[in-house]
């Protein structure tokens, strides 16, 4: 009697298959996690083009590092840890770039328009979140938008659970009045 090899399912199984050279398995992982990576990067970087760069870099780096992935931790946490670092690095680089461009009227006139936003209310919400300090913004996004628990957030952000709870609370404190205005409360 023969037994067919049973492949593990889910992210961890796909990551294991991808590490063994199964690019189709990695494509499934990309398709599954791309939307959450995009919305996180878009809000952290506040620029659609930079977000696309960060996300592509993240998936490529993860692909090249699959052999080092420890399947005892969730794939999403491992992936987001890369993404968070890419966003932080790009934000720093952009800050320098922006300072250089501030006194360049030609560059400002020719700058690409930001990505179109679907609604006025959505625009207002995005502005409110974008104005949060980066540490508060990343905590709010992971907690509320990606619906992660604090333990997973701690793995990704490298902060303690108590520190992250405080960041989420401060983010909510800052957003509360803005959202009441937006939702006419």
């Amino acid at each position: 009697m023969t037994h067919a090899a049973v492949e593990p399912v889910g992210d961890t199984g796909l990551a294991s298959r991808a590490a063994r050279g199964d690019v189709d398995a990695y494509e499934l992982l990309v398709r599954h996690h791309h939307p959450s990576c995009m919305r996180y990067a878009a809000r952290m970087l506040r620029d659609a083009a930079d977000a696309e760069d960060a996300v592509q870099d993240t998936f490529m780096r993860a692909y090249l590092a699959l052999s080092r992935y420890d399947d005892r931790q969730p794939f999403r946490a491992w992936l987001f840890r890369i993404l968070v670092n890419r966003c932080r690095t790009l934000a720093l680089q952009r800050a320098r770039r922006t300072r250089r461009f501030l006194n360049d009227p030609v560059a400002l006139v020719n700058a690409a328009s930001p990505a179109e936003e679907p609604s006025e209310r959505g625009d207002a919400i995005r502005r409110a979140v974008d104005e949060l300090e980066p540490l508060l913004r990343e905590a709010f996004l992971l907690k509320y938008v990606e619906e992660m628990d604090y333990q997973e957030m701690a793995t990704i952000l490298g902060a303690s659970v108590s520190a992250l709870k405080m960041r989420v609370k401060r983010a909510c404190d800052a957003l509360r009045p803005r959202l009441r205005e937006i939702y006419d409360d």
């Binding site: 494509e27 919305r39 938008v145």
Partner: protein, 222 residues
């Protein structure tokens, strides 16, 4: 009362989070970019079985992305030039494009094609050439380790049509193409998409990148 307000605030946070989950119109194209880059990387690994430092390939993917989305010019190390011509046909004079000067002559000599008649781009007479004529593509890219031709004719598959390297760094491949308009590009080192610098750019974009356009059998490129 306070509980009501807390509930309403919590509901507001959830509604805001739901709004932030709305996909952007650009997400599908961005996903395509990622998948193409990953497939290119996987193909190059498979093709070369290269166990060396992978950061070089990743760097190409990153550069490709920048070049497409920022409109920057991606430079293949060394001279990059390309030409399409109908092999073995002595048709001269055309209104399209061709390589000129020493670069072209040197590349042709490297390819051992000194006897090939004058270069003819795609817009040669259809009647004289038949329906599916071999078209030679060439890219001079001495620093590249692999180059492939992609286009509508091979479903933009970076594995389907690898190009051969001749001494001097000229990469070439001949492909029978039907008469008509063809959009194409070169994929250098598995991930960097390079339009033909000697050919017109196609107005349409695939995965956000600019490609080149050629005509086989006459007509307009635009």
């Amino acid at each position: 009362m306070t509980d009501d307000r807390d509930d309403r605030d919590e509901r507001n946070f959830q509604r805001a989070a739901a709004e932030l989950r709305t996909p952007s119109a650009r997400d599908d194209a961005a996903l395509d970019d990622v998948l193409v880059a990953i497939r290119g990387e996987a193909a190059s690994r498979f093709a070369s079985d290269d166990a060396g430092d992978p950061t070089g390939d990743w760097e190409h993917a990153r550069l490709r992305r920048r070049s497409r989305r920022r409109g920057a010019v991606w430079l293949v190390a060394g001279l990059a030039a390309a030409v399409a011509f109908a092999a073995g046909l002595g048709v001269g004079g055309f209104a399209g494009w061709r390589l000129r000067g020493e670069s072209y002559r040197a590349a042709m000599e490297d390819l051992g094609m000194r006897r090939v008649p004058p270069v003819v781009p795609a817009n040669v007479s259809a009647g004289a050439l038949g329906v599916r004529q071999p078209v030679q593509f060439m890219l001079v890219a001495p620093a590249a380790s692999r180059v492939a031709l992609v286009g509508e004719f091979n479903d933009w598959d970076p594995i389907a049509t690898p190009m051969a390297r001749a001494p001097g760094g000229a990469w070439h491949v001949a492909l029978p193409l039907a008469d008509g308009r063809h959009v194409y590009a070169f994929v250098v080192d598995g991930s960097a998409w390079v339009p033909d610098p000697q050919a017109p750019l196609a107005p349409e974009r695939w995965f956000g990148s600019r490609n080149s356009v050629m005509l086989v059998g006459g007509g307009r490129t635009q």
